[in-house]
């Protein structure tokens, strides 16, 4: 499987998680949760950045990654790497917030953490190996 296809697959998976959490947020319903902490996390102040739900930011980020996977070339590969790495770093911050501040773990957030980390690794690998355009 090519790196671009793998990135696209991971982006769709991450986008599905983000889309679910976005629907949950705007529908004012509780997420399906086996970890017991999803409500706490979703209701904490960390669930929004500048008034924008983090789930929406995730949805936009995964859409961006998917777009970069569709487009060939080094610039697209680099853009994907920027989104993937920034997303991983921010997800790490939110994981810290769950553990140290909210004292609750949301399974959907952890799932997203794993997916965005995979996306970052794949995107960096692609950025390093994407063929140069013909001279």
């Amino acid at each position: 499987m090519s790196l671009r296809k793998a990135i696209a697959g991971a982006a769709v998976l991450g986008g599905a998680i983000a889309a679910y959490l976005t629907v949950v947020h705007y529908s004012h319903i509780s997420p399906i949760c086996t970890s017991g902490g999803c409500e706490k996390v979703q209701q904490s102040s960390y669930a929004k950045v500048a008034g924008i739900p983090v789930a929406v930011l995730g949805l936009v980020a995964y859409a961006g990654v998917l777009l970069t996977a569709v487009v060939r070339g080094v610039p697209a590969a680099l853009a994907g790497a920027v989104i993937g790495l920034a997303g991983t770093a921010f997800s790490g911050y939110l994981l810290w917030a769950q553990i140290a501040r909210i004292h609750a773990i949301c399974q959907w957030c952890v799932g997203n953490d794993v997916v965005i980390a995979v996306v970052a690794v794949l995107c960096v690998a692609r950025a390093l190996t994407e063929p140069d355009p013909p001279a």
Binding site: H28, S30, G84, A86, F90, Y93, L94, I102, A127, D132
Partner: protein
Amino acid sequence: MKRNRLILVAAAVGAAAVVAIVLILVAGNKKTATPTTNATATTAAPSRSLAGIPQQGTTLGKASAPATMIVYEDPQCPYCRSWNASTLPTVVDQYVRTGKLKVEYRGVVIIGPDSVRGLRAIYAAAQQNKGWSFADALYSHQGVENSGWITNGVILAAAQEAGADGQAILAGMGSSKVSAALVKAQKEATADQLRGTPTFIIVRPPAKSQQLTVAGLDPASFVPSLAAALQ
């Protein structure tokens, strides 16, 4: 591998770091407002919106009101703070002040350890019939979750804004009455199948109690849902 490509990838890592730092700063910034700053900005709000409304224990409004809205809240919950600041004044003006509705506070621990301290203070204030005013004032000091933000100083400041006796609140927080009120609220929350805060239950005998489903917590979304439930 070409050196130029490595430089480009390194630049991408740098750009990602910048984006992440900006996101983290923005995400963290909203929670770093100091209690004193918030208190200054909102000192007048609690007394203004609840002025002239009778408070008895955890109940806000006339005892004769035909309907009751139970509100489950956590003092650390940002959505509860938002509802209290933006929508409670409208509900009070349109329904409580007119005697159509009374509102009952039920504090539950959703966010964590600081919630317990905040709820103890609120229930202690309720013993002075200032529970709603104090809860409202405490929201204006809301800080980072479980950071120890509900200090004695914050409690005293909120008490002053609410027109309550702060020292009595501090003294009463550990009382058996307050402990019993917390346990009772938690049991009621379990019975009401509480899944988050704020949650609103409409009680209008002889009709069966029902959880209020709202499209949003802002007045434009909330009030029509409340009106429909009270019809």
